[in-house]
């Protein structure tokens, strides 16, 4: 019966005695397998064995109960459903092959960038789908009564007359497309949406227009959270003080997706770098412990100095963006300068190009530990990127909505009505320009910098060209770029609802451009970049971008006056006013009261209390779990020590029983290599020669079933480390 077990490999047992012993062992194993509830799929056996196990578990003859018969199709269906869901999350196999190829050529670190890109594409498509379903389709379907031309307001602008009349305009279709003016009257921008007054029974396009960006943001928030939770770093699971054991770094850092020789070389370098870094860090910790207090204070001061310098740089960059935006808004109609229109995006890109380089240099000046160096540079880059975007939106708000300056020009209409006919459109145009510019920059960089550089490097030889080499593919920089684009998209959800479509097209193209650049024009960075830990960071940055986009949106929706003569919300003091009106119109009284209670403090404060209680419970639970893990690990160490104690005794005994005297068993040579913190993987090296004679002995004289069992028969579970 057990013959067919492929697991029972190795030297065929010759003696009936040993055969009996092994049979007994396998009987136990089978019993265990039958009793355990682990699904057959998870067992580490061959296919035939699995089939056998399944038969053992559910023999044919035993009639299945009605419940089981009813239950099984459901389970299968659920499984199919889950698989479909996973496929959906992976984008219906979009770019599957390309991703495999990239992973094989460059490792998972760079692959994670492309996966991230795909995730963003999915998010954008989802947003687009929602907008199309709830806003565009009903708009086309219902076909609101044509309102005719928007009522022209007589604006009392004393200081500056409307400028369009006098200055000759530069009418170039390309220019119009680039600035977005060509689409001013299309559904791309806010101003083109119109609807009749609200009634009690109709589908309200206003409400849909208002709520769909918020719902999209919420969905994106949930999606990001979910992806973040998948990539939670190990440290949070195992407690703060946990450090990955060196053995894990040595044995389990190989990337098995790699298929090419060059990638393998790179990976080797990476691993050696990592080990070097580990050792360096250890040395550094020892050095730091030897320092006196004064030295420590000195070191901290120097760190502070660098960071203050960087803060100053960031502030300078941000103010540059502020002035650029202001200048470009003030000279909006100087049509001769296309440059002026693209000044803010240009400044932002310049700042974001120069900033990281400067930071890298500055941070390298100080004597940081290597891990901290990388992280600090990254963090400052993120700060710069998000702060520049935030500053951009703030300065827009200042010019348009008079936030934080004298409100004379905004007093009569709630916004700067003299300069902006339809301010939502202007803001939308700015964001549109930002996205276009970002994409153009990507294209230009790929084909005007990387490609010539590769060609030149290939053509010429010499120390300069060797030094220059191909371009490095830096994952963090690229990720930050697409995160910035995504943030801009989210910011513009309210002003140009079709921006996600544009962004998804750009993302789609970016994938191919980047892939081309990566495969043809650049080399992988030798610096280590681990996929597992970086995913969390990327998504965190994305989340920050989302929050950054959500705050201005919330402000605009809740408390600014929308334009008087364009868009859906002309008659409302703030877009949010639609909601109370519709609630009063369409909902019955009890649900109105319920909604009012839900939105009041009387509900939100208890909710906060409840949530904080739940949070404390969770935190205390996870702490208790961490403590349990510590205890269990200690116990495991004990178990392993005991095991080796037994193995030692056994191996010392066996040679002594053999006829040859003087077997090597001096106590000094006994390996004392139990790592104090963690069980050793497998059997240590010096043990094998001592086990070898016992092996021979067992098969020749004693006849005990394979005395070297601990090493050969039993796969020691301690080999699988955490």
């Amino acid at each position: 019966m057990f013959r067919q077990w492929s697991v029972q490999s190795g030297p065929a047992p010759r003696r009936p005695e040993s055969q009996a012993a092994s049979e007994e062992l396998w009987e136990q194993e089978v019993e265990r397998l039958c009793a355990s509830r682990t699904p057959v799929r998870m067992l580490p056996y061959a296919m035939a064995d699995k089939r056998f196990i399944r038969e053992l578990r559910e023999p044919e003859g035993v009639k299945t109960t009605f419940w089981q018969r009813w239950h099984r199709p459901r389970r299968v269906a659920r499984q199919h459903l889950r698989e479909a869901e996973q496929r959906l999350a992976r984008g219906f196999g979009l770019w599957e092959g390309a991703l495999y190829e990239i992973g094989g050529l460059f490792g998972t670190g760079i692959q994670s960038y492309f996966t991230f890109l795909r995730f963003l594409l999915l998010l954008n498509l989802l947003t687009m789908l929602l907008t199309a379903c709830f806003v565009l389709l009903p708009l086309v379907w219902l076909r609101p009564p044509e309102l005719g031309p928007a009522l022209k307001l007589r604006l009392q602008c004393s200081s500056s007359p409307l400028p369009q009349s006098d200055i000759p305009r530069f009418h170039n279709p390309l220019w119009n497309i680039l600035t977005g003016r060509a689409f001013n009257n299309t559904y791309l921008f806010y101003g083109a949406y119109r609807a009749g007054p609200e009634s009690s029974s109709e589908y309200s396009i206003r409400l849909a227009y208002l709520l769909s960006p918020m719902v999209c943001l919420l969905l994106c928030f949930c999606g990001i959270l979910q992806r973040m939770a998948e990539g939670l770093p190990q440290q949070t699971l195992l407690g703060q003080r946990y450090r990955t054991p060196l053995s894990a770094k040595v044995f389990s850092s190989w990337d098995f997706c790699i298929r090419v020789w060059e990638a393998a070389t790179i990976k080797k370098h990476e691993i050696s770098n990592e080990l070097k870094m580990e050792l360096e860090e250890g040395r550094r910790v020892e050095l730091a412990q030897q320092q006196t207090r004064a030295q420590k204070a000195c070191r901290l001061l120097t760190y502070l100095r660098t960071n203050i310098l960087i803060v100053l740089l960031v502030v300078g960059a941000i103010s540059a963006i502020f002035w650029a935006t202001k200048y470009s808004q003030d000279n909006k109609e100087e049509s001769l300068f296309l440059v002026l229109q693209y000044l803010p995006p240009g400044v932002i890109s310049l700042v974001n190009f120069l900033g990281p380089q400067l930071f890298t240099v500055l941070i390298q000046l100080e004597n940081y530990p290597p891990g901290t160096e990388v992280n600090l540079t990254l963090i400052w880059c993120v700060v710069l990127k998000l702060a520049s975007l935030g500053m951009f939106s703030f300065s827009l708000g200042q010019t348009v909505l008079c936030i934080g300056r004298n409100k004379t020009s905004c007093e009569s209409y709630g916004y700067n009505a003299c300069d902006y006919q339809c301010w939502e459109n202007s803001v939308g145009e700015e964001l549109y320009k930002l996205i276009i510019f970002n994409f153009l920059l990507t294209v230009a960089f790929a084909f005007l910098v990387s490609l010539p550089r590769r060609l030149l490097v290939e053509r010429f030889s010499g120390w300069f060209w060797t030094w220059l080499d191909r371009e490095e593919f830096l994952v963090p920089k690229n990720v930050l770029d697409i995160v910035a684009a995504q943030t801009v998209t989210w910011m513009g959800l309210f002003y140009c609802p079709l921006l996600p479509l544009l962004n998804s097209v750009f993302l789609f193209l970016t994938f191919y451009i980047k892939k081309y650049t990566l495969l043809r024009n650049s080399r992988a960075s030798p610096r280590r970049f681990r996929a597992s830990s970086s995913t969390f960071f990327f998504h965190l940055v994305l989340l920050l971008g989302l929050l950054l986009a959500a705050v201005p949106l919330a402000y605009v929706i809740s408390s600014t006056h929308s334009s008087w003569d364009c868009g859906l919300f002309t008659n409302y003091s703030a877009p949010w006013q639609v909601v109370p009106e519709l609630v009063a119109l369409q909902l019955p009284l009890p649900s109105q009261r319920a909604l009012r209670y839900l939105s009041s403090h009387a509900f939100s404060f208890p909710l906060l209390i409840l949530l904080s209680i739940v949070l404390t419970v969770c935190i205390s639970q996870s702490r208790a779990n961490a403590r349990a893990i510590q205890g269990l690990r200690k116990q495991l160490v004990w178990q392993v020590q005991e095991k080796w104690h037994l193995v030692d005794d056994l191996s010392r005994l066996l040679p002594e029983l053999s006829p040859e005297p003087g077997s090597p068993h001096s106590r000094a040579s006994r390996p004392r290599s139990f790592c104090p913190g963690f069980p050793c993987p497998g059997s240590p090296g010096p043990r094998t020669p001592r086990l070898a004679p016992s092996n021979r002995l067992s098969s020749s004289s004693l006849g005990a079933p394979s005395a070297s069992v601990p090493a050969s028969r039993f796969h020691f579970p301690s080999r699988t480390e955490l």
Binding site: A229, L237, L608, S620
Partner: protein
């Protein structure tokens, strides 16, 4: 060896062995063969060589008989097993010393001082000596000890003391270590000193330090002794175990909560208002004893109730602040805005209580929460269920009984699980359970309906000022219903005959809780929904406060009656008439629920009657003494197994979740939604109580003083619910992450457990192997002893082969 097999099979003896870690002397009384093994371990190896030979032979003879089926392990195997690291950790000094040496090294390396120069170079290679094996010579132990001493010297004094204090060694050993590790410094100082002896200065310093230290110790013990009811709690714990004790500890916690709540109220509301009493509005009725029960009458015109507080700005410049507080505050005088103070003090006390409650809950969660279900693991029940608080012989016997029943129940449950009940039986069980729940829910429903109709009747009846006893009718009805329903539930539970006692207890708690919360919910509706409407011209806040006072008083009386009749009389009956000698059990669940109910009443009423916590404190004080007396005289410890640590968590959770949260929702509703009465109280001119804050902020805004950020902050963060919802969303995200972390940790724990199990299997396998090797050797020995060329010492005893350079004659 038969005795050591007893170690594996005979459970009771091992219980004592594992749990108490007796000294070798005590253990020798239990079974002497293991004692021999221990002695061998602690004896020097040189002696061992001389002594072991006869012992080993003698034991080898004992081994062969007396084994039933189990693998008979030879003495040599047993010796190896006995010397395994985990068995020897508590017994071998060498192991301990080396372990602590290792720990000290780590600690010293972590400490920041550059100490590398301090250590003698010979200490360096010894870092590799970390080894817990036991076959150590004196030399080795001494060496280890000296190494340890050296490492200890490297530490700072405080760390060293801590380290030495924590070592599981005998006192003499510790003292020796301490002296040794102190001495070099003394010597150094000795060298540095001008004269040969200690200098006068340093001696003085030592004396001062010692005196300070002992003073500190005395103060600490004094503080410890000054904690209230220390002796009483010890007595209860000793006599009834920690489960009953946890009830009294919970009572003490509630007392602390109330005291904490009362203090700010006294300081900021009651004291201030008492210092500036308002004009008496009308004739004050005289005091007649009935007020103590009804809470009305004379009490209405005191600081006890909401209505007494004025709605003006109190300031020392005005002798009698009138309506509107017209007198202008002088420079330097502090205007005291009573409505604002009322609102903020209430909010602050609730917030404080919430924080402390949540903190203590999470703390107790961390204490009590253990991974995986410990329920139903027999080893845990056998080894870890002794309650070490118990000091008296009688109590320990009771506990033995309870552990016995627990084991029986466990086994019964196990059998049940192995052999599932028939379909019919299951069906019957389900039907009984469903009927029980239906009955419970029905009776709960009936109770609530009864309370509702009765309260309607009370409203319909022309209110005669609430003076008389008829005001007590509603509380009486509610208390009677509560009591009756809880007895009904108890009866139902005995009828249902649950399989597991834990389930029964939780079900009882659940049912009682549902009942009480439903009744309280109906009452809240009655007060805020109906009474506010009917008591238009009057002060409804006063009425609600009085009502809650009455509820508390009546509930207290019922608890007294319950402990009188349910415990005392029942004991007398069962002793005198039934002659059973069995006392009634102390029902922890019901008593705790009563406490929680009372605390909920206090929280509900504190807005309307700021002195209600004081009443609750008095109630709790009385209750403690009465319950203690009743417990001592009438009750016995419960037979149900109760894990004290789990229980305190459950109590705190119940206190927090339905009780505190419900009270908070009620008060939030009252503050934000209900219009306060216009004739009395600090908020008489406002639409809602919360408006006091808004009005103040608006005034600040108008004043335009330096605190202009406060209105701004208020406007954006508090008034705008958007930010609150944003904060909730962020909290939700963090909760989600934590849940994921917990899930991941569970997975890690499962993996670790599996790994440990695998290691255990490895160990079993190795032990079997060892055994078989010895058996083999024993079988082959006769053949070999005839072989003259072989030195026989090799084959006498496998365990002695550790010292190959020690040949012995047979």
């Amino acid at each position: 060896m038969a005795q050591s097999l007893a170690l594996a099979l005979d459970v009771p003896e091992t219980t004592g062995d594992e749990g108490l870690e007796p000294s070798p002397y005590e253990e020798s009384e239990v079974h002497d063969s293991f004692h021999q093994l221990i002695q061998e371990q602690s004896l020097r190896v040189a002696e061992e060589g001389l002594e072991l030979l006869p012992l080993g032979l003698g034991r080898g003879d004992q081994t062969l008989p007396g084994l039933e089926g189990a693998p008979a392990l030879s003495s040599a195997t047993l010796r190896i097993l006995a010397s395994m690291p985990s068995r020897t950790i508590g017994r071998s000094r060498g192991a301990i010393i080396s372990q602590y040496y290792n720990r000290t090294v780590r600690l010293r390396r972590r400490s920041s001082r550059p100490l590398l120069g301090n250590v003698v170079p010979s200490a360096r290679p010894s870092l590799r000596l970390y080894d817990l094996e036991l076959d150590s010579t004196i030399l080795e132990e001494d060496e280890k000890r000296s190494l340890l001493v050296k490492e200890l010297q490297g530490l700072s004094a405080a760390q060293r003391d801590h380290m030495v204090r924590n070592m599981p060694l005998s006192l003499g050993e510790k003292r020796c270590l301490r002296e040794k590790s102190w001495s070099p410094k003394g010597k150094r100082r000795h060298l540095q000193g001008r004269s040969g002896a200690f200098s006068c200065c340093s001696r003085l310093r030592y004396t001062c330090m010692l005196a300070l230290h002992s003073l500190g110790l005395a103060l600490l013990s004094g503080l410890y002794a000054a904690r209230p009811w220390r002796y009483a709690l010890k007595q209860i714990g000793g006599q009834f175990g920690s489960s009953v004790l946890s009830y009294f500890l919970f009572l003490k916690t509630l007392l602390a909560f109330n005291a904490l709540m009362l203090l700010p109220l006294l300081a900021f509301l009651v004291g201030v208002q008492a210092a500036f009493p308002p004009d008496p509005a009308g004739p004050v009725p005289t005091f007649s004893g009935l007020e103590l029960l009804t809470g009305g009458g004379r009490f209405t015109h005191t600081v006890m109730y909401y209505g007494y507080y004025s709605n003006s700005t109190l300031s020392p410049s005005c002798d009698a602040p009138r309506e509107g507080g017209q007198c202008s505050p002088r420079l330097g005088s502090l205007p005291y805005n009573m409505p604002l103070a009322y609102l903020f003090t209430m909010g602050a006390t609730f917030f404080l209580t919430c924080i402390i409650l949540v903190y203590s809950m999470s703390h107790s969660f961390g204490e009590s929460y253990r991974v995986g279900s410990t329920k139903g693991i027999h080893a845990l029940t056998v080894f870890c269920s002794w309650d070490y608080k118990v000091t008296q012989k009688r109590a320990s016997r009771v506990q033995q009984d309870s552990i016995c029943t627990q084991l029986k129940e466990l086994l019964a449950e196990w059998h049940l699980r192995k052999r599932p009940r028939s379909v019919c039986g299951q069906l019957r069980q389900v039907v009984v359970l469903g009927l029980g729940w239906l009955l419970c829910l029905g009776s709960t429903m009936g109770c609530t309906v009864a309370v509702l109709t009765f309260s309607e009747v009370m409203i319909q009846r022309p209110a005669s000022g609430g003076q008389g006893v008829e005001a007590l009718a509603l509380p009486l009805v509610v208390s009677v219903l509560n009591l009756g329903a809880s007895y009904l539930f108890r009866g139902l539970a005995t009828l249902e005959r649950h399989d597991s006692p834990v389930l029964e207890v939780y079900m009882a708690i659940c049912r009682n809780l549902i009942l009480k919360m439903a009744v309280l919910g109906v009452l809240c509706y009655h007060w805020l929904g109906r009474r506010v409407a009917t008591l238009q011209g009057q002060c409804w806040e006063d009425f609600v406060g009085q009502e809650l006072y009455r509820f508390m008083v009546v509930d207290f009386i019922f608890m007294l009656l319950d402990s009188l009749f349910g415990e005392l009389v029942w004991r007398l009956i069962s002793e005198k008439k039934l002659k059973r000698g069995q006392k009634p059990e102390f029902d922890i669940a019901r008593n705790v629920l009563d406490l929680i109910y009372g605390q909920t009443l206090t929280w509900l009423g504190v807005l309307f009657s700021p002195l209600l916590p004081a009443v609750q404190i008095l109630r709790l004080l009385f209750l403690f003494h009465i319950k203690k007396a009743s417990l001592m005289a009438n009750c016995q410890a419960p037979r149900r197994p109760w894990l004290a640590s789990h229980m305190s968590t459950v109590f705190l959770t119940l206190l927090c979740f339905p009780s505190f949260l419900g009270a908070a929702v009620f008060l939030c509703y009252a503050v934000w939604q209900v219009r306060p009465s216009s004739t009395c109280g600090p908020f008489r001119t406002l639409n809602t109580m919360y408006e006091a804050g808004t009005v103040w902020v608006r005034r600040l805004e108008h004043a335009g003083s330096g605190a202009s950020w406060l209105p701004w902050l208020h406007h954006f963060l508090v008034e705008n619910t958007f930010f609150l919802f944003l904060a909730s969303a962020l909290l939700l995200a963090v909760i989600y992450f934590n849940i994921q972390v917990v899930k991941g940790q569970r997975k890690v724990i499962c993996l670790l457990k599996e790994q440990i199990r695998n290691e255990g299997e490895d160990k079993i396998f190795l032990i079997n192997k060892l055994h078989s090797v010895y058996e083999e050797e024993g079988r082959s020995r006769p053949g070999r002893t005839q072989d003259a060329t072989e030195p026989p010492a090799w084959h006498e005893d496998g365990g002695d082969q550790k010292e190959p350079c020690n040949p012995r004659s047979p």
